[in-house]
């Protein structure tokens, strides 16, 4: 149903797009004729009457078409991904290309000429950078640098080998007469070889991500494909220069210059990227006050790194890749958790989006009669040589490398590496860049490149998965974090370093240790915020993640059981294994921490002998103060989300710079009125010294119950009236605060304790003072000054409120949580005011 619907939509859009495109020239001519006011170019012709609406296609055509094409490409992806049974056999990239054929065919059918093509400018300036930046940013650095030697050898020597052998062999075959009469010289062959030499990261990732090979194999192919893109562009430029110099002008000096330029361009590009990476890291040190645009810096500076390198004629791909790799660690620690998430997902959106567009357009570009020149010998030989030399290159180089590797790359892995030599859009982009005046057979080269791309992406892409299965390639293991493993890994690291030191060997571990020391001493000091430096320890992070995970499990468990009741139930708690001690503390950290900070409660808390061990309690207090507030709030949020929800959901108020949450005025009103009603009742009954009429509370219960978002809340409403007291020593932070509340309430003049546990859990009955104030001052958004002044008196997390107001995720939850919490001590003035108000 879904896919069919979307494909229909796709077709419609396509029709619109192509018809609009058709119209464009027509309108252009008519507009230049200057008679049609309806084109929107009415300024030229005097208008006789005010047009109500005008048709201004011309005005928007370019951006409109761009947006439309992006939409169409993405819809293609949507259609493909909706058909899971197909994507398990055929990789997505291949399908996208095929859909591209289809779309191209339609355009061709409509226009009789290929209006839309992948141009090198668009590709290199607008589609490629974000893909490389994303790869760099997501690069597993440790893995990359551990295998750096192999990757570099493959990327540099392997690429040169591919280029040289392909060029020379084709030239040899040409001389031997295998291709008939074509006008290509040796240099042109080498140029062609260099543009086809590189394995394409886009195509490779697209395929390898789906087969889940082991991490070493993945990083080898992936790292190589990224680096050799840079290399191939450099090679291409060098040979391009040679071609324009002409064969005669090339002497030893020029060749040496070419080699030097190769290294300068490659390393210069990396250096530019490195510098930009440092810049980003430094910048994110001081973006605390503009968190909302913080993620933007990464994109802008990353793009600038690309453009700067391009401007200096250095390797832009290497530049943006190293930029991403350098800054990842520092920006991840420097920036707010949310910004990091934003960067991650936004990069993925851009990268994945442009990848999709690239593949679709690779398909579309093929449907163009004008570029196709067929030369069987040339094309088939190229295909053959590419495959063969790739394999030879991989085998020879890995054989050399394996002599120095601790864990040699197995033969099976080598086969996959060789077979994973997919060519992609970079080759096509370079082929289109060829200068027709110097290379007569440009079109032949383009069509050959296209065929190579199609063959490798579609055929090798499809066969890759069966091959991986057939050869039983070691797959990536699902990494499960366990604390002991992490500890042990660290012990291993240190042990290896120590053993290397003792046995006097200088190896990887030695270098890594040296680098890490340097990094810790200088780089971190220079590039990290002081607060971020503290949370560098990975072991601790794992611990924290595990705790978080447990907290979520715990909430899920609560949901499964239909309530969080089991927290309070001592028996259930014991059943729930010891490990939930911590989880529980994790789930409600701030309540506890705040309890501790709140003097009055502290005593009560200890007195009540809470089963949560003080160890974890204190830990969470620590956490709260310093280390990991953001994540804590997550766990928190999760919990609170399931507690009380007002009748109306909170509504978002638009603000460009904050994610502020606006509390709906109606809700305030409602809560206020309900509270007032109940308060009036209790006040009356308190005065008269009789128990409150149960009907009222029962009534409110019934009224509220159906509105509860889920069963969890029932824990506060169900059960006997005073179960909180009977289970006073249970674990809940909420429980722990009860005595406090009671005493306060007593102070406020309500003397019927039996009434309290019933009404209080359904605490919307009680208007928190800030809401009361808000009501009076008709400004429900933020706590008024009076309310804020009063905040320190309140138990629970009220004093976190002010600091969290700008937090998008916790904003509403905090407020909801507050409603749950026992009402604050109503100071006498408020009481009076309430009365007045009534």
């Amino acid at each position: 149903m879904g896919p069919r619907w979307t494909s229909a939509l796709l077709l419609c859009l396509l029709m619109v797009a192509s018809s609009l495109a058709n119209e464009a020239p027509a309108h252009e001519t008519s507009a230049s004729g200057g008679n049609q006011t309806s084109t929107g170019h009415g300024e030229a012709a005097p208008i006789t009457t005010l047009p109500i609406v005008t048709w201004k296609w011309h005005h928007v055509s370019t951006p409109y078409l761009v947006a439309l094409w992006i939409l169409v490409s993405w819809l293609c992806k949507l259609v493909i991904e909706a058909n899971h049974h197909v994507t398990t056999y055929i990789p997505e990239s291949a399908l996208l290309i095929c859909l591209g054929f289809l779309l191209g065919g339609m355009i061709w059918g409509a226009d009789k000429v290929q209006t839309f093509k992948l141009t090198p400018t668009v590709f290199f300036f607008y589609l490629l950078p974000q893909i490389i930046l994303d790869s760099g940013y997501a690069m597993p650095n440790k893995l990359f640098f551990t295998n750096m030697g192999g990757i570099l050898i493959h990327a540099i020597i392997g690429t040169c080998w591919n280029a040289a052998t392909l060029g020379l062999s084709l030239w040899g075959c040409h001389k031997g007469g295998a291709m008939g009469d074509i006008d290509i010289g040796l240099l042109q062959y080498l140029l062609f070889g260099s543009l086809l030499a590189a394995v394409d990261p886009v195509a490779v990732i697209a395929v390898f991500e789906q087969v889940h090979v082991n991490e070493v194999l993945f990083i080898m192919v992936f790292g190589e494909s990224l680096l050799n893109d840079g290399v191939t562009v450099v090679l291409f430029n060098v040979f391009d220069a040679f071609v324009s110099l002409g064969g005669g002008a090339i002497d030893a000096k020029e060749i040496v210059k070419g080699i030097i330029s190769f290294f300068v361009v490659a390393f210069g590009g990396s250096l530019v990227g490195f510098v930009f990476g440092l810049l980003i890291s430094l910048l994110t040190r001081c973006t605390k006050n503009i968190q909302i645009i913080e993620p933007g810096f990464i994109f802008v500076l990353g793009y600038l790194a690309y453009l700067t390198a391009e401007m200096l004629s250095l390797s832009a791909i290497l530049s943006v890749m190293f930029c991403g790799m350098c800054c990842q660690k520092y920006i991840n620690s420097n920036m707010d958790e949310r910004s990091v998430q934003t960067v991650r997902s936004a990069l993925k959106v851009f990268a994945n989006g442009s990848e999709t567009i690239i593949f679709v357009f690779l398909g579309i570009s093929a449907i163009d009669k004008s570029i196709w020149v067929w030369n069987t010998g040339f094309i088939l030989l190229t295909l053959f040589f590419i495959l063969v030399y790739r394999f030879i290159g991989v085998f020879v180089l890995t054989w050399m490398m394996n002599r120095f590797r601790l864990v040699p790359i197995s033969l099976v892995d080598q086969v996959i590496m060789g077979y994973g030599g997919l060519r992609g859009a970079v080759a096509y982009g370079l082929a289109v860049l060829l200068d027709e005046t110097r290379i007569k057979e440009k079109n032949l080269m383009i069509s050959t490149t296209l065929i190579v791309v199609y063959f490798t992406v579609i055929f090798q892409g499809i066969t890759m998965k069966p091959l991986v299965q057939w050869l039983k390639v070691k797959r990536a293991a699902l990494v499960e974090l366990s604390l002991i493993e992490k500890v042990q890994n660290k012990v291993f690291d240190h042990a290896l370093i120590a053993i290397e030191d003792i046995s006097g060997q200088i190896g990887h571990n030695y270098m890594r240790d040296k680098w890490r020391n340097f990094e810790e001493k200088w780089m971190s000091w220079f590039l990290l915020k002081s607060s971020a430096r503290k949370k560098q320890d990975r072991l601790f992070n794992v611990f924290h993640e595990l705790n978080l995970q447990d907290a979520m499990e715990y909430v899920t468990e609560g949901e499964r059981r239909g309530s969080l009741d089991f927290i309070r139930n001592e028996n259930a708690f014991v059943d729930f294994k010891k490990k939930f001690d911590e989880d529980f503390a994790e789930a409600m950290p701030d309540i506890m921490a705040d309890m501790i900070q709140f003097d009055g409660c502290n005593v009560v808390f200890l007195y009540r002998g809470d089963p949560v061990p003080s160890v974890s309690l204190e830990m969470h207090e620590q956490n709260l103060r310093g280390l990991r507030q953001a994540e804590e709030i997550n766990a928190h949020h999760l919990l609170e989300q399931h507690l009380y929800k007002g009748r109306k959901q909170h509504r978002h108020k638009f603000s460009r710079s904050h994610f502020s949450i606006n509390q709906d005025e109606n809700e305030v009103q409602e809560i206020f009125q309900r509270t007032m009603r109940s308060r009036l009742e209790s006040f009356k009954s308190g005065k008269m010294g009789v128990a409150p009429p149960k009907t009222i509370t029962k009534h409110t219960k019934r009224e509220q119950q159906p509105k509860m978002p889920n069963g969890k809340n029932r824990s506060y409403y169900s059960g006997d009236e005073d179960f909180e007291f009977s289970e006073g020593d249970s674990a809940s932070g909420y429980d722990a605060s009860f005595p406090t509340r009671v005493s306060y309430r007593t102070g406020a003049g309500i003397e019927n304790p039996a009434f309290m546990p019933d009404v209080d859990p359904s605490s919307p009955m009680h208007i928190p003072p800030w809401l009361a104030d808000a009501e009076l001052e008709v400004s429900p958004v933020a706590p008024s000054q009076r309310a804020q002044v009063r905040l320190p008196w309140m138990p629970g997390h009220l004093h976190r409120l002010s600091s969290l107001r700008t937090s998008p995720r916790s904003g509403d939850s905090v407020q909801e949580g507050d409603e749950q919490l026992p009402p604050p001590p109503p100071p006498p003035p408020r009481h009076d005011r309430d009365d007045n108000h009534l």
């Binding site: 601790l406 053993i499 003792i502 200088i506 072991l539 601790f540």
Partner: protein, 194 residues
């Protein structure tokens, strides 16, 4: 090769160690040189002061544990053959080469490597990593960044994860099970220079 095997005669128990540990003659020779370098006073054995003279080791959080692993219980010195035997734990495992005369359970087998790692924790050699022992390691490795309470709860958790028989300690079997997924060969091998 000829020259190295001729000078192998200088290495005490050279041939036997080659058999036992799987190191090649060149490896042994190199290690012997290192041994002699560490053994400043030419006593033919190393004491813990000799190890402490390695400057980098002082920066290593578990350096003293590693050094401790070289010493057999109750002994103050390490001679060359035990030095090599300890180092042999860190030799990468060959997969396809089965050498003649190889022992059934060579020092670089997964089991022995794990045992070595286990003993780094188990300082009192009672076959169990107790909570206190784990806590010590954690304290050494996490240093100042984490408070004592956090350390304790990390240790508690780690033990809970691995502790199958609920005796609040990690036995070797439990240790091995918890590291089942880890590629020990990968993680606990270094490349010895020829």
């Amino acid at each position: 090769m000829g020259s190295s095997s001729s000078s192998l005669n200088n290495v005490p128990d050279g041939q036997q160690l080659m058999q036992e540990t799987g190191f090649s003659a060149a490896h042994l020779l190199r290690l012997y040189e290192r041994f002699k370098f560490l053994d400043k006073d030419n006593r033919g054995h190393l004491r813990s002061e000799d190890f402490e003279a390695v400057p980098e080791l002082s920066e290593n959080p578990i350096g003293d544990r590693i050094v401790g692993a070289f010493f057999l219980p109750g002994q103050e010195t390490v001679d060359f053959s035990s030095f090599v035997r300890v180092l042999a734990h860190f030799r990468p495992t060959e997969k396809n080469r089965t050498r003649a005369g190889a022992q059934p359970d060579p020092a670089n087998s997964r089991n022995r490597k794990l045992k070595f790692a286990f003993r780094l924790y188990d300082q009192d050699r009672d076959g169990k990593i107790s909570r206190i022992e784990l806590l010590q390691v954690l304290r050494e490795m996490l240093g100042m960044q984490v408070t004592e309470e956090q350390l304790q709860s990390i240790a508690d958790r780690a033990i809970q994860e691995a502790d199958l028989d609920k005796d609040d300690a990690i036995s070797f079997d439990e240790f091995r099970k918890s590291l089942e997924k880890v590629n020990i060969d990968h993680k606990m091998s270094i490349r010895f220079l020829e």
